[in-house]
Symmetry: C2
Subunit: 542 residues, 2 copies
């Protein structure tokens, strides 16, 4: 069989656009005389459509579009991910359509409700699994989570059933998996390894078709793949971009990729570009504003935005105060020059003075927390003022380590439409900076070298308030991503006092994070829907 | 049997405090020589503990506290709601303890994942249901959702099984339900009616014990109740306050309450007081700041805060601009006088001028959206400045109709720790104002009479930008709470153009709402975790 993989980037809820895109790829497959073209999970709606799926009018429109697509399908069969209403409710379905007709439907069996997933909120699970007979082949069609429950591969089985095993027992020769599997750093290696082990165990070819694109905080990496029954990766589609590849199932045993993907910091870089671009475009924006402090976070954010959107669509705004060092001012300007972006200098001194005159008896600064925060808030206001007047989206620049510790000003540096680095730990921000500078110095070396500072009071340094980032990031990863007990984190070589202090500060900053803009997810556990914590709670680790 | 109902208000995650509270009520029941005392669902941890439940160290601590409680239990049996680890994972459990021993455990069978609920994220469902034999009685113990699946009472069955029916078939004589059932306006009548119908249908006494208290956006109303087997409400505990009541099961057939609850606007009022008070106290705050514009929303917010916290703990801040009418300035001052709260007057003119000088070539106002928003943001900054310096929490004052339409300034009037009216539609805000003025004029009549205005430009009125609130609120309720198709909303008597415009504006404001502070939930569908929508989506109703 000649099979095409259509790794598309749908726009959430834009059925018109997505249908057009699907028809375009069906035509390509037709033109290549393919037997079958396979699309990702929920390709027609985008993933996750969330509570749009509760609206019957939306589901009616989905049905109409599915019929429209079905009618034009000829000799190239199509497997498409789509929500479908059944007897017991809504299903996350894979529809096999051929010659104008819906031939088979397989619903998703395993519905994840951990991390960022809420699938049981929307979908009923499949009650049975059947192979699809197509042109003399027995296809075992699964959807995303359906193949992530192998009892040998994982320490524990999350679900009672194993759809993959069932389909193989029914005689499936090819396992097809439609996915919308969000990216995080390290996932690619895990996924490829698992696909390979499953193929060998069950002696089947595995075809994995993943969605690509950014949807709010989630980034889908694509990286669709085919693994043959001896576990060799024989086909690998683009990462972080749409792709379309045709292959012959008869040739799979002979294929070996010369080079398989090796996940390094460039993947995070590409993920952030895609996430930024899609969040902008899918929201109808094309231009952004970044406040440039001369520090590492805003420099990396501006460099990412410039790579994602082009220099004409990025404006850097420097908003120095009396506490801004000359070095920082120079670095901000130099960065803008290196990036070739528009640059504005708007000192905040007069506005700051208007506040101190309102609040301080003698009008002089007394340098308390209120005055530190007001500086950040004036900057947030200036950016939003330009945004409201000129129509750019403001990007915030905080990183995950700061967001974790609440080392940020709510309505100040946290004000904006998208937080590009919200899930990037500080140490990884430096790695991104090095990657950005891989060919020439874009981020001035002095930005990378100087100790991080918020510059909200004289001689302030991050390390006055925070442990060294190398240490902090290790503890944060264990606490947030791995949910390790305190004893285990201490056993990694940290003092109990420090670990408890960090845990306490992470918990206390929950109220800030719940008012943060969406942050692009690149780790296995990001703040937001992947980590749902109450604000008014008093659990304290010991 | 002499049974005590212990309607407590636990603090999320504060196992020490909750254990103390539980022991205190066990002692009361002991002193009253009760046979049994019943606590609400997940009383030991509070509800919803969210991702705290993913942490093994937290669950270890819960186990230790449960043992501690168990050991002191004597001749008064205790039924307590608590998370429990079992063979297949974590369960939402009801534990019957007696004479120092855990006698029976019943896990929750039906785990809701709609609206604000995420229970399948944390819990496994019970695989079986068994009556508990206790002092010669067969008790059928259920947890919250377990009794909300009667096939006769509801049009559809959400779940395959009906735990209540099973327990009755096993011979249960008394049905006990441990709940943590969040309040919304109208729920009390529904719940009471359902309890009564179920009691009659199954010919059993129903004992319903609900949690009370505010946890972030959720407010639990308590209102625990006993309904006898002929469907009569014989016992009704406090609403919106802790309570402890002892009754004799042998007497139930004779009891009829003189007066049953009738839900009116006073319930919403009490819900908001409890929600405000608990959010403050449970977060370690005691004082609040409210920006007083002289409008209805800030007046009602300040009045609610004063009733909740006492006048000494509320400060009103008036921040007039060049566009503030004299009437509004006077009304703000008069309100503060009527409430007997501290009042500060901080005009924003000088700060506003510092912005226009920075941005406008001739320093003069050009009255665009950027300048409208900066006024609101300066006010937000002033409140946060006072908060940072003096330690009060800022309450935001926007109502549900505004939040729906995006008729608010992000980082401006949306800046604060808690939004008291976020789920109160504008028309209901007026009903609250009337209720607040029921005995004497607290909110000046002129505030109630004048047409709503944001006063961000000369002669601005809400109705320049929004339909009349009577119409708007009807459409918003149908669209947001009832998820009605557009055709049905139009059929209620509205123009299609208007309905589509409102739907579009609600969808477009999603980005603002996702950066809003928690808002107290008083309707059947609030923004936040009860309505999960993507931001970057392009579905448009037709």
């Amino acid at each position: 069989m000649l099979i095409a993989l259509a790794q598309i980037n749908p726009v959430l809820g834009d059925l018109e656009y997505n249908t057009g895109k699907i028809l375009e790829y069906i035509n390509k497959a037709n033109a290549a005389r393919c037997d079958l073209v396979i699309f990702p999970e929920l390709a027609l709606t985008g993933y996750p459509a969330q509570d749009l799926l509760l609206n019957d009018q939306f589901l009616d429109a989905v049905e109409i579009k599915l019929q429209e697509i079905c009618l034009v399908i000829g000799d190239t069969g199509v497997i498409l991910g789509v929500p479908m209403r059944g007897i017991n409710g809504l299903y996350n379905a894979a529809a096999l359509m051929y010659r104008g007709k819906l031939q088979y439907v397989q619903y998703k069996s395993l519905l994840p409700v951990y991390d960022i997933f809420d699938e049981k909120r929307y979908f009923e699970p499949a009650r049975e699994r059947k192979c699809m007979a197509f042109k003399g082949n027995k296809l075992g069609v699964t959807i995303c989570e359906d193949i992530w429950n192998d009892k040998d591969y994982w320490n524990r089985q999350r679900y009672d059933i194993d759809p993959l095993e069932e389909l193989v027992q029914q005689g499936a020769e090819i396992i097809i998996n439609l996915s919308a599997s969000p990216y995080h750093y390290g996932k690619y290696a895990l996924r490829t390894d698992m696909l390979s082990k499953l193929a060998v165990k069950h002696q089947v070819d595995m075809i994995y078709v993943n969605q690509v694109g950014g949807n709010d905080h989630l980034i889908f990496d694509g990286s669709s793949a085919v693994v043959n029954k001896v576990g060799t990766l024989c086909l690998q589609l683009n990462k972080f971009a749409e792709d379309f590849v045709v292959f012959d199932t008869g040739e799979l045993c002979k294929r070996v990729l010369d080079e398989t993907g090796h996940e390094d910091i460039s993947w995070v870089y590409q993920a952030l570009l895609l996430g930024t671009r899609d969040y902008l475009y899918k929201n109808g924006f094309s231009r952004v504003l970044v406040g440039l402090s001369g520090g590492i976070d805003s420099s990396v954010t501006a460099a990412l935005a410039t790579a994602a959107l082009g220099p004409k669509n990025v404006m850097g705004v420097s908003m120095p105060s009396r506490y801004s060092s000359q070095g920082s001012r120079d670095d901000a300007g130099l960065l803008a020059e290196n990036l070739d972006i528009e640059y504005r200098l708007l000192p905040i001194e007069n506005i700051f003075k208007a506040y101190t005159e309102l609040f301080n008896p003698e009008g002089r600064s007394i340098m308390d927390l209120a005055e530190e925060n007001i500086q950040a808030r004036i900057r947030g206001n200036i950016l939003m003022f330009i945004s409201n007047r000129e129509g750019q989206m403001v990007l915030t620049t905080g990183n995950k380590s700061e967001m974790a510790m609440g080392y940020s000003t709510i309505y100040g540096d946290m004000a904006g439409g998208l937080s590009v680095l919200a899930d990037v730990p500080k140490v990884m921000v430096y790695r991104l900076a090095e990657y950005i500078n891989r060919e020439r110095e874009i981020i001035p070396q002095s930005v990378i070298n100087k100790p991080p500072s918020a510059e909200l009071r004289p001689d302030q340094k991050d390390e006055d308030s925070l442990p060294p980032y190398q240490v902090l990031d290790q503890i944060l990863k264990a606490y947030i991503e791995e949910i390790k007990p305190i004893n285990e984190i201490v056993a990694m070589g940290h003092s109990r006092e420090l670990v408890l202090d960090i845990a306490r500060r992470v918990d206390a900053a929950e109220y800030k994070r719940q008012q943060a803009p969406p942050g692009l997810r690149v780790t296995s556990r990001a703040f937001g829907s992947g980590r749902r914590m109450p604000i008014a709670q008093r659990w304290r680790f010991k």
